[in-house]
């Protein structure tokens, strides 16, 4: 099983990177309950690529957030993990479990 705390750190690191490109009022708080529902398409792309890079840098694991299948889930209204930081962490943990199984 993937260490959820470690995944959360990696995701928060990616969000901190994303925040670099956002104005004070738009920035995402670095906490589990912070919503991710107001991101525009460019911010979503930035976030997905930043999460991939952060997971690779900090957990030394490779996941793809941008392949067709994953993107379909991420962009779907019902199944999207982009609700809160916490749901994104759960989703990334699942991807890591899958990659390691």
């Amino acid at each position: 099983m993937t260490d959820r705390n470690a995944v959360e750190k990696a995701v928060l690191r990616a969000i901190a990177t994303l925040n670099e490109t956002m104005s004070e009022g738009e920035q995402i708080p670095l906490e589990s309950a912070a919503p991710l529902t107001r991101l525009d398409s460019l911010a979503i792309t930035n976030l997905l690529v930043a999460v991939e890079q952060s997971v690779q840098d900090t957990l030394h694991a490779e996941i793809s957030m941008t392949d067709e299948q994953t993107l379909e889930v991420i962009l779907s209204e019902e199944r999207t993990p982009l609700r809160t930081v916490g749901t994104l962490v759960d989703y990334v943990s699942g991807l890591l479990d899958e990659a390691r199984s």
Partner: protein, 561 residues
């Protein structure tokens, strides 16, 4: 106009991340031109892109898009390099044309992903190599843009190197047409903001260094100068010599060097004079405060002695407590975090981006010598009973020359960098100034000063425009080093004499206050002109005199720099 932009970004890729970073790190209003319409924006066809009347613009393109012939070579088609260079010339001409719309235009040089190996062994062969073509194109672009005082080519390859192996992001490119990862944009934003600060005259002018464990290794008071770590077959000693070389390079760019150190002065100066590995000697420093007093107070005293504002100063010290104390007491002074490891000192120094200037003049290269001569003048002053005797003893010689190509870079620099003796603080680029002096009713003169201690170079600028019976002083600027030598009075005399010759009855000087130009108000208040509020005037039917100790000469109209 409230909708006016500060910076227009013109690019053939999605530039939003870069724009967001610039907005976040500054107060600039940044606007992006329509995506991938570089050519038509530069040609002025996209009129709405220019409606925001930007003060600055930046062009950042991908080489394979901007230069189609290069794109074909990237696909390994047989393309002659001359074909690419013709396209580079066309691109450069469009940039030069568009640059007329702004105060200055920045252009990112072309770069390629470091992962792209091209033709490998043959990639630097001009006949077919991709890297060879890229180098040639960048060199041609730099040459084509060099003559323009409005256009600055920025080294994008440095941003790529700083960002490391993941600088280019294929995923961001395929998903959003963003070629670069965020670190590239961060490095670029640092350079663009430094460039704008430079053009606004905000460059730092003085680096003050500590001595023990900063300029050399060890404590000179305890170890003796013979035992300091400096040079020799020692990595720390070599690193500190290299750090001193870096400081010497700054001095050659016109940045002044000073010392503030807790030490016995004679002991420290003996080390500077006698240690065989010292790169910097006494005459490289324009002043020092070497004593056991508070460093913040010593920095403030040294700044006052040199007539420099605290916002002009960088302070380098190995000791975190001293840095914190200075930062807290003098927030305008830049106190960079400094590495503990002495082998990283030179790297930390080279990374500072606060010294950039839009031009490098003869005065810049000689600035340290001029300030050292200044120190000797002050020493002479202490031996003479009155200021008048001192000024007479200096044998000051002033050459007045009209503005022209030979002095334009230095005149522009003085207008943009002088804060204290500056009547109206009118900032202008070289191109704007060249336009301003064209009408016959507007004129500008430069003042060169030398005395028996040396040549102080071009120190003063007077701009004047006449309108009917009135002449208005538009620029009255004197280097802070020259304040109090009566050059100010000579400048006013030139304004009055010129106005009288033109049949103008009244010369007016309106003082526009800033946070830093109070010395100018103090001079104007006692210069003899009549005063009404912040407007000072002289009736030209009366003579305005300059002190007899000044020898004045009229120079060539386009005197050399």
């Amino acid at each position: 106009m409230s909708d006016r932009a500060d910076l227009l970004l013109i690019s053939d890729f999605t530039i939003d991340n870069f724009a967001a970073l610039l907005r976040k790190r500054s107060t600039l209003k940044v606007v992006a031109a329509p995506f991938d319409r570089v050519e038509s924006v530069l040609l002025g066809h996209e009129t709405q892109a220019w409606e925001c009347e930007p003060e600055w613009a930046m062009v950042w393109t991908r080489p394979e898009r901007a230069i189609p012939a290069f794109g074909r070579r990237c696909e390994l088609q047989n393309v002659d390099i001359d074909e690419m260079l013709v396209e580079v010339d066309t691109f450069a001409a469009r940039i030069l044309n568009a640059a007329e719309r702004v105060r200055a235009m920045f252009v990112a040089s072309w770069s390629a992903p470091p992962t792209r190996r091209g033709l490998g062994l043959l990639d630097l062969k001009p006949a077919a190599g991709i890297s060879a073509a890229l180098h040639a194109m960048n060199f041609r672009l730099a040459s084509a843009l060099a003559a323009s005082p409005r256009v600055y080519l920025l080294d994008a390859q440095r941003w790529i190197l700083l960002a490391g192996s993941s600088a280019f992001s294929p995923k961001l490119w395929y998903m959003s047409k963003i070629p670069f990862a965020l670190p590239v944009f961060q490095a670029a934003a640092d350079d663009v903001l430094a460039a704008i600060a430079a053009l606004r005259g905000a460059a730092r002018k003085l680096v003050i260094v500590d001595l023990d464990d900063t300029l050399w290794g060890g404590i000179v008071g305890d170890d003796g100068w013979e035992n300091l770590r400096l040079g020799g077959h020692d990595p720390i000693g070599e690193a500190l010599v290299d750090f001193q070389r870096g400081l010497k390079c700054l001095a050659r760019r016109g940045v002044l060097l000073g010392i503030v150190s807790k030490n016995d002065e004679q002991t420290a100066l003996e080390a500077i004079r006698r240690h065989p590995e010292m790169v910097l000697r006494e005459d490289d420093f324009v002043g020092w405060r070497i004593n056991w007093g508070d460093k913040a107070q010593n920095i403030a005293d040294l700044a006052a002695e040199l007539n420099l504002g605290l916002q002009s100063i960088v302070f380098i010290d190995d000791h975190p407590h001293e840095r914190a104390r200075v930062q807290q007491a003098l927030p305008e002074v830049l106190v960079p975090d400094w590495p503990k490891d002495k082998m990283l000192y030179r790297t930390a120094l080279d990374a500072l981006d606060c010294f950039d200037t839009p031009a490098l003049t003869g005065e810049d290269r000689q600035r340290s010598e001029m300030y050292v001569a200044e120190r000797r003048r002050r020493e002479l002053r202490r031996t003479l009973p009155s200021a008048e005797e001192w000024l007479a003893d200096l044998a000051i010689h002033v050459t007045i020359e009209p503005y022209g190509p030979g002095n334009a870079p230095r005149v522009t620099q003085l207008l943009n960098r002088t804060n204290q003796m500056n009547l109206r603080t009118r900032r202008m680029t070289a191109a704007e100034l060249a336009e301003w002096v064209k009408p016959p009713r507007q004129a500008m003169w430069a003042f060169r000063v030398r005395d028996r201690f040396g040549d102080s170079g071009l120190c003063g600028v007077l701009g004047m425009e006449t309108n009917g019976s009135r002449a208005k002083i538009s620029d009255f600027v004197l280097s802070c080093r020259m304040i109090g030598r009566s050059i100010e009075r000579l400048m006013l005399k030139l304004a009055v004499d010129t106005a009288r010759k033109m049949g103008v009855r009244r010369v007016e000087a309106e003082y526009l206050p800033t946070a830093k130009n109070r010395p100018c108000l103090e001079f104007m208040a006692q210069c003899g002109f009549e005063r009404s509020g912040n407007v000072f005037w002289w009736d030209t039917s009366a003579e305005y005199s300059a002190p007899s100790w000044l020898t004045v000469e009229l120079g060539e109209p386009y005197g050399g720099s």
